[in-house]
Symmetry: C2
Subunit: 262 residues, 2 copies
């Protein structure tokens, strides 16, 4: 007898320090927790294409890092008459799919798999600063070289860059969208030359770096994209789950590049 959705969620929570949390967005968004799992699809965000790929692979359980219904809390009240929402919901229901968000608990694992995954994708694990896990100390290279390397390693077409640097050595990594205060503190307290980040608010970190440059300080920011910054972390969970539920097929479904750059 295969494990149920609920049993797999509980198995994951058993590996998270402090879990279960009183407050978390990591809830079952749709589906029956008692359903036996035929297969798990791990993804950054359960788009319609991801759901269809999961169905095609025979999976009935999607573990997603980001929301399914276009807002952080997956509040759906305001979407009840929306054609996209109702059709997506019907697709999930018609195929008996369960979707669980794995966001707060993922970032609470030690080490955080999003950092482990990014270091693996960049092949930088040896450069991680022992005193600050969000900083890598690299042999110096120009910002241009650094950006080209990161794009190749992560398979990105275009990234957004602010700033400058002839000898980038201390590189901060802050995936996702933790907000400007966290990102800016990596420049100050982490004393980095460059920050690689997932997503920004455009009145925050990019303008901080632009001001640094205007004041004669050499700093840079590379905005990878939210999905690009966290897919490597979710990929880490595939072998992790395979080792713990060997009877269930587990696979990763990429959301691909969200944007066309025109």
């Amino acid at each position: 007898m295969s494990q149920t959705v609920q049993q797999i969620i509980e198995m994951i929570l058993a590996a998270v320090p402090g879990a279960p949390f009183a407050q978390t967005v990591d809830t079952l968004k749709i589906g029956d927790p008692r359903e036996p799992v035929t297969g798990i699809a791990v993804t950054f965000l359960a788009t319609v294409e991801v759901i269809e790929a999961a169905i095609a692979r025979g999976a009935n359980f999607i573990i997603t890092h980001e929301p399914t219904f276009y807002n952080h809390l997956d509040d759906v009240q305001w979407l009840e008459k929306d054609a996209v929402y109702t059709a997506k919901r019907r697709l999930l229901e018609d195929h008996g799919m369960a979707v669980w968000r794995f966001h707060d608990y993922l970032h609470a694992m030690r080490p955080d798999p999003t950092m482990t995954g990014m270091l693996r994708a960049l092949n930088w694990a040896d450069y991680q600063d022992p005193s600050n896990p969000f900083v890598c100390h690299l042999p110096p290279r120009s910002l241009e070289t650094l950006v080209a390397e990161v794009k190749t390693a992560l398979g990105l077409e275009t990234v957004r860059v602010v700033g400058a640097g002839d000898a980038c050595e201390r590189v901060g990594i802050l995936v996702g969208a933790p907000g400007g205060e966290w990102q800016i503190k990596v420049f100050g307290q982490g004393n980095v030359d460059v920050l690689l980040c997932g997503e920004i608010n455009e009145w925050e970190t990019n303008e901080y770096v632009r001001d640094a440059l205007g004041l004669g300080l050499v700093k840079a920011l590379v905005v990878l994209g939210h999905a690009a910054s966290e897919e490597p972390g979710m990929r880490e969970m595939v072998p992790w789950l395979q080792a713990r539920v060997p009877e269930v097929p587990v696979s990763f479904v990429s959301v691909g590049e969200p944007f066309m750059w025109r």
Copy 2:
């Protein structure tokens, strides 16, 4: 005798329905409200470069749409030891500059100058839907043509695009970063083919449009950038101010393109 910073702020508020507001981010961020104004620099965001340009023009009052210190409330407690913040603050103090934020009050003006400015920049004022000021009804054109036109009109190097469209007719415009719920409602309630927006959260509107496409609906999103979407609105305030304080030189300072696209 020239008008003071405070007198000019009060003159603006007199034109805003419902002003002054009990809660607003539109406060004097630095400077003496009793200071006579030698010149006004209007901008999207008071970067170090913008401040230097204002000083060079002899202006001692900057009216900015977005924050000066990298967060929506211009809270500076967490920045007190930050080298960029302290140097920027010193630059402003050394030159006796006043900086006032003009955000909530700008969007409360009727019509909202950010919409008027965008329609003027795009030369679309004749297409505005009389029943919904955030929608334009254009002669149909392909998404590709629409994007090229918008880029030329706004002087943009690169925009981010999601979706498709062979015959884009109903085009929504929502400047700034009002959040996914507002943006997504323009697709539903405004029934638009395309939304032009300033900034997104990458787990919201872009994924909604990607899902629409996955479900066979023809929708598109063009992410202009926050600055690109609101500079035309702030530009509208230059002749508006000039007409009301003819004795004070008023000029616009552009923040330029915030990003290098690599």
